[in-house]
């Protein structure tokens, strides 16, 4: 029997510490970057303090997710940790055991099948893609997909190296730290859940964004050819979105919310305009959630969803499209119909 799956709950964790874009630009003092905040739409981002790291963000997000869920930790049958950074102990990067082991033991889900997925900013969507298949085939009834991204160390490095607006590390100044977790579970209701998902890797462009740990300092750096990535991602995602719409028998204007990867306001708007030209239609709304958090890598879609849920913007039955662009270059689309989860968010002050 083939089962459908739905997003049952979402949780997030953002650090308390705030770093304002203005503060960064004042330190850099590069004339052309004065309008960085206006162009990116990022006023501030959150950053880890002492005692916080990828693992702690992921664990706290997982706990928040469980708080909004009908499941207890011991009910979880599968846990996938999908972050790029795997810091466990501030800037100590852990290769073994995988972070998913630490996360599941920390939240008390030690019976769950676990492994880590690494796929740049597409990590959590890749996790959803895998979990959906496990649920569809009845291997598991539910799966938590979780990520903690401590990426502001890349920003710290960029602050030392960016001297001109053409620096390959400029994109690192958009980054912020966050954790996110999602529980996917089985549904029998026709009008909810994941309708279709599809991914591809255009590996010819894998060199366009490279992130590494430094050899001689704690933390890492990221070098990006942002304009080229944007061009390739936008032009190549159009045929994929067309295919997804065809499979689901929908038109682009029947999508209520498109949530793209949160990079910068300018990129999102120019992408949205390109889509509007290609389709001759616009979706209900293109979600931008950059102002207070910046680009939080693999967690960005779910941070945006969480905030929209808490602001009561979504309603049951809304068609939501997650558009995923990540280094690789990975292009992915997840189309799903919002469920009664909307009733479990936004009621607290």
């Amino acid at each position: 029997m083939n089962w459908k799956s739905k997003i049952e709950s979402i949780g997030i964790k953002v650090p308390v510490k705030i770093i304002a874009t203005r503060e960064l630009m004042d330190k850099l003092n590069i004339p052309c970057l004065e309008k960085f905040e206006l162009l990116t739409g990022i006023r501030e981002r959150r950053a880890c303090s002492s005692g916080e790291d990828s693992c702690s963000l992921a664990v706290d997000a997982a706990i928040d997710c469980l708080d909004h869920s009908k499941y207890n930790p011991e009910d979880l049958e599968m846990i996938l940790s999908c972050s790029i950074t795997k810091y466990n102990g501030h800037l100590i990067h852990q290769y073994e055991p995988p972070l998913s082991v630490c996360i599941k033991n920390s939240i008390g889900a030690s019976g769950a099948l676990n492994f880590d997925i690494t796929n740049a900013c597409a990590g959590m969507q890749t996790g959803i893609f895998i979990a959906e298949d496990f649920i569809r085939r009845g291997v598991v009834n539910n799966c938590m997909i979780v990520s903690g991204e401590y990426i502001t160390s890349l920003m710290d490095h960029a602050m030392k190296t960016v001297k001109t607006p053409f620096s390959k590390e400029l994109a690192s100044l958009t980054l912020g730290d966050a954790g996110a977790a999602v529980i996917l579970d089985r549904t029998t209701i026709e009008r909810e859940g994941i309708v279709v998902s599809g991914f591809t890797t255009l590996s010819k462009y894998s060199h366009l964004c490279i992130g590494k740990h430094g050899r001689k300092y704690a933390g890492g750096f990221m070098r990006t050819m942002a304009k080229k990535i944007h061009k390739v991602s936008i032009s190549d995602s159009v045929p994929m979105v067309k295919e997804v719409l065809k499979k689901s028998d929908l038109t682009f204007d029947q999508i209520d919310y498109v949530i793209p990867h949160q990079t910068s306001r300018n990129s999102i708007f120019s992408g949205a305009n390109h889509f509007a030209q290609c389709f001759g239609q616009r979706p209900g709304q293109v979600v931008v959630n950059l102002k207070e958090y910046g680009n939080t890598a693999s967690t960005s879609h779910f941070l945006a969803m969480y905030n929209y849920l808490n602001e009561k913007r979504f309603k049951e039955g809304d068609r939501i499209m997650l558009l995923c662009f990540a280094s690789g270059i990975i292009i992915g689309v997840v189309l799903f119909i919002m469920n009664e989860m909307v009733n479990r968010y936004g009621n607290k002050n």
Binding site: I130, R137, T200, S206, I210
Partner: protein, 308 residues
């Protein structure tokens, strides 16, 4: 529909005195695997890389994406913008990390996508090598690469059962971490890869494996005597011989000779599989048990059934 192993290939550095990174070793094994299977790389729809230690501490993109490009598995755009035509095939790539058990977890994923009809052919690749030569403490794994091609099967041959367990009481029995080494007064400050293995790790690995194996056989409705061939992880050193002795398996467990093979990490299972493939034991056996163990402590097992 089942998922069968189409081919397995492995690689080791040609010259021991030159540094061959894990990605290079994985690419070499992948190309060899494609060549020996007679499969065009464009047929691969899913690529999963299960190595743990990326060259030069790469964090993104996924190593699988780099390998996808280097073996020529549909690296191009989806769409030919000049002719407005869709290109023939697409490949999706990502990395999976689960210590010495990642390979079996990746097989389970590929098997699932094949059973769901989403793909027809996938490849799992892995590579082990010190990320930066000389900048580690106690990194003892043998440099190696391996690749497996899996494809759909309609004759009953293929994987039939999977099981992964972790044993949380041993979470820290094996750890590897990249730590910034900033000793006061030292001019040489580096990120160092520290590998720590508890002195009881081997014994715990064998005990955990025995426990998981019993449950696995019960779930699969088998007795140990029904297992014709057992193919296992190679590390920690002494694991294969320890298991052989404990289970009294005789020749039914594949053993590799030599010190370097005893320290094969994520590629260890594939090396044993390749040996069984070459000496025809794989084809002759009916029930084949793939068994991996690694940090966590995690065990991942899978049963493969030949048609004979």
């Amino acid at each position: 529909m089942e998922t069968r192993i189409e081919m397995v290939a492995v690689s080791r550095p040609v010259f021991s005195f030159t540094s061959t990174g894990s990605t290079g070793l994985a690419v070499r094994a992948a190309k060899r695997c494609l060549r020996e299977a007679g499969i065009d790389p464009g047929k691969l729809e899913l690529l999963i890389y299960t190595g743990i230690y990326p060259d030069d501490y790469l964090g993104e993109p996924a190593i699988a994406a780099i390998i996808q490009e280097r073996i020529g598995a549909n690296p191009q755009s989806l769409y030919d913008h000049k002719t407005n035509r869709k290109m023939a095939g697409t490949t999706f790539s990502f990395d999976l990390n689960n210590g010495g058990c990642g390979l079996v977890n990746a097989i389970q994923i590929v098997d699932g996508f094949i059973r769901s009809g989403r793909i027809r052919c996938g490849m799992i690749i892995t590579g082990d090598s010190e990320p930066v030569r000389g900048l580690s403490d106690s990194f003892h794994f043998t440099p190696a690469g391996a690749a497996l091609i899996l494809s759909e099967s309609f004759n009953g041959e293929g994987f039939i059962h999977f099981k992964t367990d972790t044993h949380p009481q041993h979470e820290n029995a094996f750890t590897s971490q990249l730590v910034f080494d900033s000793k006061k007064g030292s001019n040489k400050k580096h990120n160092l890869l520290f590998v720590k293995q508890d002195k009881s790790y081997l014994e715990w690995c064998i005990n955990c494996t025995m426990n998981s194996l019993n449950h696995f056989l019960q779930e699969a409705g088998l007795d140990l005597q029904d297992v014709d061939l057992m193919i296992t992880s190679q590390s920690p050193e002494g694991f294969v011989l320890g298991l052989k002795e404990r289970l009294n398996l005789g020749d039914r467990i594949v053993t590799l000779n030599g010190k370097p093979e005893a320290e094969l990490h994520t590629a260890g299972l594939a090396f044993a599989l390749r040996k069984a493939w070459e000496d025809n034991r794989f084809k002759q056996a009916r029930n084949i048990l793939l068994l991996t163990v690694g940090s966590g402590i995690t065990t991942a097992l899978s049963l493969y059934r030949n048609r004979n």
